[in-house]
């Protein structure tokens, strides 16, 4: 079976699973299935079918699993959002449409990710610019400054900055990897490369410190610093960068805990939420209660106790950062672990693409994107389950939020492009290979 037919098959399976979940919620809420509900479902199926056709024509050799996984996660997200607040699901559906558009635009305009390598410094500037803009003109929501309000929309620029920075780092580190991996001197018996190559590490450290202090957000800072450290490690294979980077981040986090009250609150709530049960710890504890209530099998889609009588969700921000609590409550341990497994599957496909990729830039790009995706998932899931301190970050494809779903759909587009090149280089005809080489 060709890659695209595998993709179609899995899309059909994902569509069937999603339809069942959606119908279950719809029936639970309205006690009937009417034409409107079917139209909503058909629009969703239609979006992914169009994306499938696009990939079939433009990237025929791309990885067949990423799109079905995306569809499944988006369906779970839309279903839960619909379950929690139907009006928001409609908005989220529109954002999915916008995201699909950007996905298509990325695929058609970029077509091959090697082109992006040429714009690496522009990408770096865009990424940095987005983050600085957030710090300068951003609005504080729930204690963290992660949003920019513009043209009647709320945008979370860090979601897009994530992509730009990964592209920049992939290009930059691929270029400098040799220089960075050759030790020129020894400090305390530790081989270290020349000081000037530490520059980027220091810049990145200051950037994450600035994010901690000015955005008051632990999660995004951790994400950016980790992406950087991971890519440094992949580029140079030198564990010393991980050690130093980890140490620097720990120091930055300690500084932030000491001087930023919001970060301090999050940290003390993480250590012991019970004394703060009515104040700063309320959200986390309600999340834990809601998750614990799910049990092994869960209450079933649309049947969990997620809304109070006045239609307020049991956990504040249930449809965004805490959507996993809703999933765990309704799908139980089995379903929640299943969702985690689906994320792991996505990450696995991403890293697999990186391993087989033909060149350094492609490897770094794919690994960076897969790592960013996986780590973001871990940060929010660990946060809502009190494995790590809670931080406001979205669950990719599932959380309510336009920036998140559009940026992550672009991430999928990039990964598909890398896998297209990888597969053509490995298996394609000479003609195809030559065509690709010319383009790169």
């Amino acid at each position: 079976m060709s890659r695209r037919n595998v993709e179609l098959l899995f899309l059909v399976i994902a569509g069937a699973v999603s339809t069942m979940a959606y119908v279950s919620v719809y029936a639970g809420r309205f006690r009937e299935i009417n034409r409107l509900s079917i139209i909503y479902g058909l629009v969703f199926v239609g979006i992914f079918f169009v994306l499938h056709l696009l990939v079939r024509f433009v990237l025929p050799q791309a990885d067949p699993f990423l799109l079905p996984i995306t569809a499944l996660l988006a369906a779970v997200g839309l279903t839960e959002i619909f379950r929690i607040r139907p009006s928001l699901a409609l908005v989220q559906g529109q954002w999915l449409l916008v995201g699909a558009g950007l996905f298509a635009l990325t695929v058609v305009l970029v077509r091959d990710h090697m082109r992006l390598d040429r714009y690496r410094y522009i990408m770096g500037a865009i990424g940095l610019g987005l983050l600085i803009a957030t710090i300068v003109v951003g609005t504080t929501v729930n204690g963290s400054k992660l949003w920019i309000h513009a043209f009647g929309f709320s945008i979370q620029p860090s979601e897009f900055a994530k992509l730009a920075i990964v592209i920049f780092l992939a290009g930059y580190l691929n270029d400098k990897k040799v220089l960075l991996s050759v030790p020129t001197r020894h400090v305390l018996g530790v081989p270290l490369p020349a000081t000037k190559y530490f520059g980027p590490l220091i810049v990145m450290w200051f950037l994450s410190l600035a994010m901690l202090v000015f955005m008051k957000d632990f999660g995004m800072a951790l994400l950016f610093m980790s992406i950087f450290v991971a890519l440094m490690y992949i580029a140079t294979a030198r564990i010393i960068y991980v050690v130093i980077g980890g140490g620097l981040f720990a120091a930055a986090a300690a500084i932030a805990v000491a001087i930023v009250p919001h970060v301090q609150d999050r940290f003390s709530v993480w250590l012991d939420p019970w004394p703060h049960a009515a104040t700063t710890g309320y959200q986390l504890l309600q999340s834990l209660f809601t998750i614990a209530d799910g049990g092994v099998a869960g209450a079933g889609f649309g049947r969990g106790f997620l809304l109070y009588a006045n239609r307020q969700p049991v956990v504040p921000d249930l449809q965004t950062d805490f959507i996993f609590a809703a999933i765990a409550n309704e799908m139980g341990l089995l379903g929640a672990a299943g969702v985690i497994l689906v994320y792991l599957l996505f990450m696995w496909r991403g890293f697999r693409i990186a391993v087989f990729a033909p060149d350094g830039f492609s490897k770094l790009l794919a690994a960076g994107l897969a790592f960013a995706f996986g780590l973001q998932t871990f940060i929010i899931l660990g946060g809502v389950t009190r494995l790590i301190p809670l931080t406001g970050i979205t669950l990719p494809f599932v959380s309510y939020g336009g920036s998140s779903i559009t940026a992550n759909l672009m991430l999928v587009a990039l990964l598909l492009m890398v896998s297209q090149r990888t597969n053509v280089m490995r298996e394609g005809s000479d003609l195809e290979r030559r065509r690709l080489a010319e383009r790169g």
């Binding site: 106790f305 109070y308 009588a309 765990a328 929640a336 990450m347 350094g360 494995l387």
Partner: protein, 479 residues
């Protein structure tokens, strides 16, 4: 490069495995622990989806109904707010109290003794249905009692002396349970404590109303008879202190019945020292002092009466000097009593000396219509000998017919009662009246206590007691 990529993927896998392990810990291993945490109000909120059983009056009318609004059930009070402090609240944010808490299992259909249908429902995983509870509260009497207290601070308790059934229980100031969540902060901050159920938790100096207990002890221990002669000079000097009468009155020669009729402090102070602390306290214990009355309410919602020190209830054998005994015999000193306790003492006199267990559940009917629980009156204590009760009954009739309780008299019905006025020292009084009627065959016992008043028990509390007694005796049926 590939080696590094694989290693990072392995780190990712480890992190995700940690997520699943932690999730299993939360959702399976610790699930029950999380559910039982007091911070977890999910179970209360979930119960809003169950049709909560109704609380009915003794006459069968709905006191607290269950109203369905977009899939959730809410309490509805078709007769207005009756006894909200006793009934309690059922709030997602602030938990439950009172009868709502005490009977929650039955009201939500979760109790194990709700009959076969409830078992079948549970086995089939059907949503349980709450059982209806018929209370012993009589709405008409309750309303009369609440009207008496309108605008005042105080409490009224009405008991059936022969069964121990709680006929009415009013506490003022009051609150609206339907707007509890909006009013919560204000209610909690209010110094007048509108959320407090004064009948069961209000500790008051009983004042002269306590003389019923002292008299019972004197008669029981044969220290006095109703005709024992005393001489009052207005002052009784004892142990370096003195006991005087209310308003500085001097009564001269009086017999014991007269002493109760006019509430002569010096006579009761002398009787106190004739008994000594041991016998006085023993008699108090027999009427229920120093124990928590067995009215089934959540922990802490019924408090014991007795002598209170700075750290709470003193032990029964705590030392008392003769001056302390003298004042304690008049219901002052460190003696504190709840209106419920005073109602139990009064009911004991009315019931030949026997104290019945107080209760408020007349009948529990499961959602399937089976009567699963019925009230069975039980004796709790024997407060005094039958002869003592008979003698006290006669003496208390004199209080109403010719003494301080004259304003409690009812036409055609013989009332027996005792006034009490505890001076607070800040110019305000605590006014008491304890009574039962009809004296020959008592059907109702009532206690009225009014805080922060300028008047005496006979002036302010006795007329209220009369109105409540009249209302109760006009009822076609009492528990």
């Amino acid at each position: 490069m590939n080696k590094a990529i694989s290693r990072i993927f392995v780190v990712g896998v480890v992190l995700f495995v940690a997520l699943v392990v932690n999730l299993t810990w939360i959702m399976v291993v610790r699930a029950a622990w999380f559910e039982d945490r007091p911070e977890n109000k999910r179970s209360i909120a979930k119960e809003l989806k169950i049709k909560r059983g109704e609380l009915l009056g003794f006459d069968g009318s709905i006191i607290a109904g269950s109203l369905r609004r977009s899939g959730y059930y809410y309490r509805d009070y078709p007769q207005g707010t009756l006894a909200p402090q006793l009934l309690g609240y059922d709030s997602v944010r602030y938990g439950r109290s009172g009868i709502e808490q005490q009977l929650n299992e039955a009201l939500t259909g979760k109790a194990t003794d709700l009959g076969v249908q409830s078992w079948i429902d549970r086995l089939l995983g059907r949503k349980p249905k709450g059982a209806d509870v018929r209370l012993t509260l009589v709405p008409a009497v309750q309303k009369t009692a609440q009207q008496q207290l309108a605008g005042l601070k105080g409490a009224i308790v009405v008991l059936d002396p022969k069964t121990g059934a709680l006929v009415a229980s009013a506490s003022a100031p009051s609150y609206e349970p339907t707007s509890l969540e909006e009013d919560w902060a204000r209610l909690r901050a209010d110094a007048a404590a509108p959320l407090l159920d004064r009948p069961t938790q209000g500790l008051y100096a009983p004042g002269s109303a306590f003389k019923v207990v002292t008299a019972a002890a004197g008669l029981d221990y044969r220290k006095v008879t109703p005709t024992t002669e005393f001489v009052d000079t207005g002052t009784y000097v004892v142990f370096g202190g003195k006991v005087t009468n209310y308003g500085g009155a001097v009564f001269g020669p009086n017999d014991f019945t007269t002493a109760l009729t006019f509430s002569i402090n010096t006579t009761f102070a002398k009787l106190g020292n004739m008994l000594a602390s041991k016998r006085l306290v023993a008699s108090m214990q027999r009427s229920g002092f120093y124990q928590t009355p067995p009215l089934p309410l959540p922990r802490g919602e019924v408090v014991p009466s007795g002598r209170y020190g700075k750290k709470g209830l003193l032990p029964p054998d705590a030392f008392m000097d003769p001056l302390a005994v003298a004042w304690a015999a008049c219901g002052q000193e460190k003696v504190l009593a709840t209106p419920l306790q005073m109602a139990l003492v009064t009911a004991a006199v009315a019931n030949g000396g026997r104290v019945m267990k107080p209760y408020y559940v007349q009948q529990v009917t499961s959602a399937a219509g089976d009567v699963v629980q019925k009230a069975r009156p039980e004796q709790w204590l024997v407060a005094m000998k039958p002869a003592t009760a008979t003698a006290l009954n006669t003496m208390m009739q004199r209080v109403v017919n010719a003494g301080t309780g004259a304003s409690a008299a009812l036409e055609g019905i013989q009332v027996a009662g005792k006034t009490g006025t505890a001076e607070r020292g800040d110019g305000t009084n605590l006014a008491w009246f304890v009574a039962f009627a009809p004296a020959a065959d008592p059907k109702v016992a009532v206690v009225v206590v009014i805080e922060d008043t300028q008047s005496t028990g006979g002036e302010v509390a006795a007329p209220m007691a009369a109105k409540v007694l009249k209302s109760a005796l006009a009822q076609p049926a009492l528990p």
